[in-house]
Amino acid sequence: MEQNGRIAILLTPTVLFLIGLFLIPLLVMGLFSFREGSFGEAQTAFTLRHYAEFFANEAYLRLLGRSVVLSFGVSVLTVLFAFPVAYYLSFFAGDKKYVLLTIIIVPAWVSYLLRVLSWKVILGGSGALASFLSWLGLAQEGGTLLLFSPEAVVVTLLYVWVPFVALPIFAGLERIDKDLLEAAYDLGCNRLQTFWRVTLPLSLPGVLAGFLFVFIPTVGEYVTPALVGGPEGIMFGNIVRDQFLRALNWPMGALMSLAMLVVVLVPLFILSRFVRLSELAGL
């Protein structure tokens, strides 16, 4: 009985906070997508108009699809870049591994906005890379190189996320019992077979965690596309933002935001059927 009291005291503030400022807002957002408009009488009228409009608008759906594909691509690419480093650190770096890991992790803590900005400075038409190359006589003055393209978005996001992804993959590799590798060698596996059949499968939880680490925020991304993406590089997040800050069509914005939520949570839900997600968090 006494124990129940303790649990109640410890949990009540957080539970109330999360209900009031997280669950209810999400629910209200869902309901709001059925509203006619954001102001006056339109606020209380129920309508499916925005749903009809959304699903009839091929441009919206294509942009959503493209954003998911781009996020998927960026996530896979980031994992591919981060894995070798995590593998090297965990298996070959010896005593220095934590120092070296810190070297890779530190940039992750540097302001996200600044790191995106640095790529805008580098990739700009008259920016660092272009002017550096033309200074060396390797490229013509005024070439735009990568800036304002989907490729610029991919490179910038890859840069932003590599350190974040190296960490869970490293943690996953560290959890592998090294005796299993010995056993594989004893049973006649060579290094490649051991990696393919033992190390890689056992590292998958860490890899998956790293993948989700990138995929989830990237689906909602709009800052990087706005700064380096140009008209071809905009993502779904940009039009969600515009519904609130420019077009002032809040119900449509709520619906788009809901669509984004579904796109992230459905794969996560399917995944949770097969893996315990808490395992991915390293708990």
């Binding site: 303790r6 770096a93 803590w109 540097v110 400075v121 808490s278």
Partner: protein, 268 residues
Amino acid sequence: MKRSISLGSTYFWLLAIFLYLPIFLLVLFSFNDAESLRFPLSGFTVRWYQALLEAGELLQAAGNSIIVGVWSSLLATILGTMAAIAVVRYEFPGKQLLLVVAALPLVIPSVVIGVALLILFRQLVDVELSLLTVGLGHVVINIPIVMLIVAARLAGFPTNLEEAAMDLGCTYWGALRRVTLPICLPALFAAFLTAFTTSVDEYAMSVFLVGTDATLPIYMYSQLRFPRKLPIIVALGSIILVLSIGVILFSEWLRRRDAVGEVSEPDV
């Protein structure tokens, strides 16, 4: 064996260069005596840093960010720690549900949370947008981060220390205050710092919740439209870079010290 080691370390250092070069360029350009950020460099100057001191709005925004960062991270640390203690130490009905809900802010794009809170504040309860609404949003995304960090630490030491304190006459809350919290202190500190850094850097959600007083990322982003201000922003960025690297190394040092202490504890 030997070959793969050198291959691995070559890749490691190439990646490190890839990660640090853009940051280094930003600092380099902050001392460059030209408005456009391009090569060749035109000479050394500190005038962008001098201009910073006169940029009142910018200092205001930096101050706002620090204020919001401190109180929202404190609140998140308190809430997250209390919940983490309950979750690690006790079994109760609905625990799985609580864990799922508490983790959700981590797996939802922050834009969605920003949109949801904006609709709540402006359409349901009619609260003026301000630094308060921004900070509340930051608490939502920081609670799961704090819970993860503190729970990991709590799971690492046995409950019998608390029981011993209670056998010696402490009340439960006394044991919590005099045994559990001191043991968790490094984790609480790490959690606070992580939450603070997240708050000070948050843009994607804050932009929906901010009123007339801007936070630093909001102000910086709004200034990016003016190319002539870019060097000043870059100078400010360089200062933030150096400061944040200092903070990280400090908290890493704390964590390391903590980890060493753990090894010397007797096995239970």
